[in-house]
Symmetry: D2
Subunit: 276 residues, 4 copies
């Protein structure tokens, strides 16, 4: 079990979401409340886009537990960003190493994953063979999560993100079932190109890991006129999280089973997710 967070909106210091909320992502690294594992201490990462859309996002990843990483604290308190993804890891078996930490990056794209490909060792080779030849050598780690990313890139993530993820999951389910695996995939996935964030929630068994998105800021302002921070951020500011980072009635909405959302650039959509 991992935990992740995506932010899109007015530029803010990373620490505003990573450290300050009562149940911030960093707090969740030591004390997660939803899910089986309470500790996500097997590394972390944060990827952020700059003010200028022209740049490749920066990625800072480490195998230290997030709760005691001083460099993360330094960066979070000095770097502002209008769009970032952060992830804390609880390994499901693969090595604790920087190249297995999320977010994964390819060009302008970032990718985070919570969940697993079941019996991954048995179907890893078949899945790896499906990765485009020009992409294969760029795989640096050994996780299912990174392989899903490279499959999605193979299937056209850069042109049609939902379609590419649907094809990726379709392939995993076919391959898994061919090997007699009942429920091949369990996932929430966040991915971004620096302009929009796509967030997916799906599992073969229909009981997916938790995923929430924040209520529209205009609505929240009406509900909580006394909260100054809500007055300051832009209308289109959104947060997507594995589990809520503050207890605020009406602030969080569950992403429904087998669906995906699109956030950013004024857009705001929710669609069904159907593996192909």
């Amino acid at each position: 079990m991992c935990r992740w967070l995506a932010y899109s909106g007015s530029p803010i210091l990373l620490e505003e979401l990573l450290y300050r909320p009562r149940h911030s992502l960093i707090d969740q690294s030591l004390h997660a409340r939803l899910g089986v594992d309470t500790t996500n201490g097997d590394g972390f990462g944060v990827g952020w886009y700059g003010a200028s859309n022209a740049d490749t996002p920066a990625v800072f990843r480490s195998i230290e537990p997030a709760w005691n990483d001083r460099n993360l604290r330094e960066i979070a308190s000095h770097v502002e960003s209008p769009l970032f993804l952060a992830h804390i890891r609880a390994s499901t078996g693969t090595a604790v190493q920087q190249t297995n930490c999320h977010p994964f990056r390819y060009g302008r794209w970032l990718w985070v994953h919570n969940g697993l490909v079941r019996d991954f060792a048995r179907i890893k080779r078949d899945l790896a063979l499906a990765v485009d030849g020009s992409l294969y050598a760029s795989i640096e780690g050994s996780t299912d999560s990174e392989l899903l990313f490279y499959l999605a890139l193979t299937f056209g993530l850069e042109d049609d993100p939902p379609g590419a993820v649907e094809r990726t999951v379709g392939l995993v389910e076919q391959t898994g079932r061919k090997h007699g695996i009942e429920h091949p995939i369990q996932m929430t996935i966040g991915t971004s190109d620096g302009e929009s964030v796509w967030a997916f929630r799906y599992s073969s068994e229909g009981r997916s890991r938790s995923l929430y998105y924040s209520t529209d800021v205009r609505t929240l302002r009406e509900m909580y006129p006394e909260r100054p921070r809500l007055q300051e951020v832009s209308d289109e500011t959104r947060i997507v999280v594995s589990e809520p980072i503050v207890d605020l009635a009406g602030a969080w909405n569950e992403v429904p089973e087998s669906s995906y959302g699109l956030v950013g650039g004024g857009q705001d959509e929710l669609h069904p997710f159907r593996p192909r």
Copy 2:
């Protein structure tokens, strides 16, 4: 809150205590059951003595969480020892670095600590000044635990371990009270010279961290004739632990408040502990 373990007896692979028991020390790094913190993920260490008493003990320490450290697993499954101390750390504020991991070593002596010197920043300098001039520069880390060790060495640990620890704690309490600190110290401490293990349990407030010692092996054999492992180990084998590593009725005895025990070399004593 930290957790530690000391073993003295027939030579065994470290993994027999560090990994195999249901609530092994490594399991406690992720899921401690007694105490406030359930995660002890801020580094670990193990120090072991060889078969020959002539040697300095080996010390392996790392800032990784113990639960996912592959090198610890390798060493634990290949190194046998008749006497070893292991420790998993939950920092009370000082940096996560190798020199702050226990056990600390000086010559043939090892030292582990669970607890804290309260308001340590306020009295650290006074305590450090009390360390013998010839020892001061050997202090490598920044913890209260290591400083307690160097105070004990200053006060004669090598000649009279209980007396030296009593004088150390006496100094901490005097110094703390001079600075208006109500309960200056909370501790369980394990220390060894490679022949015996001394285990201390004390706190200024009289509510000390948990500490247990294993029942005499001869008694355990009678209680559990069906357990082959108990038949194999020598009569004088003993384990001292912050919290029990297996659920076995009658196997664990609490070290009483304000007392210390001596284990090893056929000896087996329990005495009151009185700070001087």
Copy 3:
């Protein structure tokens, strides 16, 4: 032997100095050309001030060799700063740990050091006792370099940097000689409050580690009209380095023995340095 660099001027990406020059600081971590040791692989650090003078500087430090640290590369290619200090370490014996990496920080002040206090173990305690009681507990590492910083803070670094460093060095020389140490100190030091950079070059024996400052930008522009980068940076831009990062005739000037320079905010001074 270590290597350090200080930059003050127009905001630039850290990588412009840390990576891009032919003999950049990162290149020097693997292949230093001046001095005894060619490898500076025992950790590194960079501290940078933001555009706003109000903030505490950020500090990123790691025990990895700088040449293969991916996080440093990420940060350097995404963070811009008008004033930063960077350091690569070759340990003279103390532990390789984050708290021993430079720059050290206290409030708004950063501090880097190349050199050593000779026979440090013998005089460490005497020097530590001279640190102000309110500062002592903030010392986190075990290096001579950090202790020099806290002595300078004790002696008024924040009000009179040159005077405080002169008093610090005076104390080290007195203390060292009292212990029969012939040449107690060898140093180049860089320190900043976010507005100015002070750079010191001194050694008891009068043969100090190398230190250079860049020629006035207006002069360089006349000398090298074809270099576009020189046209872009502001008039008062200055670099101070342990060894030149590019081969450019006339670009580098040695800081004289026993002297210090002040750079930043339009100021530009060179003075004799006299331990008190």
Copy 4:
């Protein structure tokens, strides 16, 4: 460029070869003398077999530079072994992570490599596809060296080590040439099953990295009757090294181009190596 060492003979403390010789492997991590790179600071590893042949070898690997790794020093000064392989790494581009450190292990087999598969990114996928399906998911890192190991395992390393390595290199050369790579492979390789050590020296261009084996101990004893260490070790003791660890005339013999040697268990052979 990396450096490696294999030892087979009377049980010795690892430190006797890793630290004590004038040009020990650890010294070579900072100051290698042969070859292009003088620094091998991108991680290290040591794998050792126990006294009992029944056990899997232990492997200790770390991404720290070997010259300052305290845990390596502890282990080397407390662990004795009759057969061990050690390796210091200078990355040729792949990530610095534990799973990329040598030795690699599979069952009872260890594997170390110095050299590279040229244009590895271009042919990695083709080579990976040739790995047996049951082995593929055990690949944890991203290096050419580990992939060579898994190819050799696929081609029967456990039954016919020289034949398996010849087939592996044959495949790499065919695959490389198919992609227009002139000299696809450069290598010295050491591998062991705990009883024998096989050492290979080969490169497509016929100018392979250096590799030496020690002279027969009986001969060395006659040459150097005054060296007590030579009197103590068993007749069949042998060392294979990338570069000599002591300057001793007549002690080191170059492994010829395109050949391999077999050491251990009284055997002692040298044969031509012909990729198939």
